[in-house]
C-alpha cells in the first residue's frame, strides 16, 4: 500500500476495510506488518519505472511498514515496562523495524499484499510519515 499519513485518523484504518479480506492473526508477542511501497510517481509527476528485481530488492531492504495486527502478548514484556504508552504502536501506525527475513505475499490471487510477522522487539519506533525514512547502507 502506498503511504498515507495515519496520525490522527489511525482508528479509521483497518486491513479488512482497505483490502476486503482478513489479515494474518499473529500469535503471542508477534506483530504483523505491511510493507511500505514507495509511490512510483514523483511529486512532479514523473513515473519511475521499476523492474521486478528492483521491487524484490525493495522488499528485502524494507525497514518501514504499517502495523496490520498485533499479538495479544505484544509490548507486555519487561523490555517495554518503561516505554511511554503513547509510544507503543497500534494498528494503522507506521513504524520502522530491524531488517527481518520472512516476507510473504498474503491475499487472494492477484490481490496479495507484502506482509511480515516479527517479534515486538524488532520494532524501532513509530513514525509520522513513511516517506521520510529510507535505508542508508
Amino acid at each position: 500500500m502506498e503511504g498515507t499519513i495515519c496520525f490522527g485518523n489511525k482508528e479509521k484504518w483497518s486491513f479488512e476495510k482497505e483490502y476486503g479480506f482478513n489479515p494474518p492473526r499473529p500469535l503471542g508477542a508477534r506483530i504483523c506488518i505491511e510493507q511500505y511501497v514507495k509511490p512510483e510517481e514523483s511529486d512532479a509527476g514523473i513515473k519511475l519505472a521499476k523492474s521486478e528485481m528492483s521491487k524484490r530488492l525493495d522488499v528485502a531492504d524494507c525497514i518501514v511498514g504499517r502495523v496490520v495486527k498485533i499479538g495479544s502478548a505484544c509490548f507486555k514484556s519487561e523490555d517495554f515496562k518503561h516505554w511511554d504508552k503513547a509510544d507503543l504502536p497500534e494498528v494503522g501506525d507506521w513504524v520502522t523495524f530491524k531488517i527481518t527475513p520472512g516476507w510473504k505475499k498474503y491475499g487472494p490471487p492477484g490481490k496479495g499484499v507484502c506482509v511480515i510477522t516479527m517479534f515486538d522487539d524488532a520494532i524501532n519506533e513509530k513514525i509520522e510519515d513513511p516517506s521520510y525514512v529510507s535505508r542508508d547502507l
Binding site: R25, A73, Y106
Partner: protein, 147 residues
C-alpha cells in the same frame, strides 16, 4: 451465540470436534497425537488443477501444475493445517489473554527452520513443530506466497 475462547483461531469452540472429524474423514485415518508443547501440522500442497476455463471453441480447458512443482511444495511451503495440538501447548503467560493460539483445523504459517521435523505420516507430509514455530493463523492457505 458463537463462542471462541481464542482470539486468533478461526475454529469456534463448538466446531472443534466437527473439524477433527472432517479432517479424519478427508485423510481417511485417525489424526496423530502431538505431545507436550508440540504440534503436528500437515504441510499445504497446492491442488493439482490450477484453473478451468472455456476457450473460444467452447471447449472446457483445465490447466494443471506439473508434479515436480507440487513435490517442491513439500519442502518450501510454510502454510500448514493443524492436525494435533499437544496438551501443554499455549499454557504460557504469552497466551493468557489470547487463549489457545490455534486449534485443530486452523491454517497457520510456520517457521520451517525452527526445530520442526518433517516426515510422512501414512503418506501425508507432516511436520512436528514446537509451539513457538507458529507465526500466525491465516484464513486461507492459498493466500500465502513466499517473497
Amino acid at each position: 451465540m458463537i463462542k471462541n475462547r481464542s482470539l486468533t483461531s478461526y475454529i469456534e469452540d463448538d466446531e472443534e470436534e466437527e473439524a477433527k472429524k472432517f479432517i479424519e474423514e478427508e485423510l481417511c485415518f485417525p489424526l496423530p497425537k502431538a505431545l507436550g508443547k508440540r504440534l503436528i501440522v500437515k504441510i499445504y500442497i497446492r491442488p493439482e488443477e490450477l484453473t478451468t476455463f472455456v476457450n473460444n471453441e467452447g471447449k472446457t480447458v483445465s490447466i494443471y501444475i506439473p508434479e515436480i512443482y507440487l513435490e517442491n511444495d513439500k519442502y518450501s511451503n510454510f502454510a500448514a493445517l493443524v492436525l494435533s495440538v499437544g496438551d501443554q501447548c499455549f499454557k504460557g503467560d504469552e497466551y493468557k489473554e489470547n487463549g489457545p493460539g490455534c486449534k485443530v483445523g486452523d491454517w497457520i504459517t510456520i517457521a520451517r527452520n525452527h526445530g520442526g521435523q518433517q516426515y510422512f505420516h501414512r503418506g501425508v507430509t507432516v511436520q512436528n513443530i514446537p509451539e513457538d514455530a507458529i507465526y500466525d493463523v491465516i484464513q486461507d492457505p492459498s493466500y500465502v506466497e513466499r517473497v
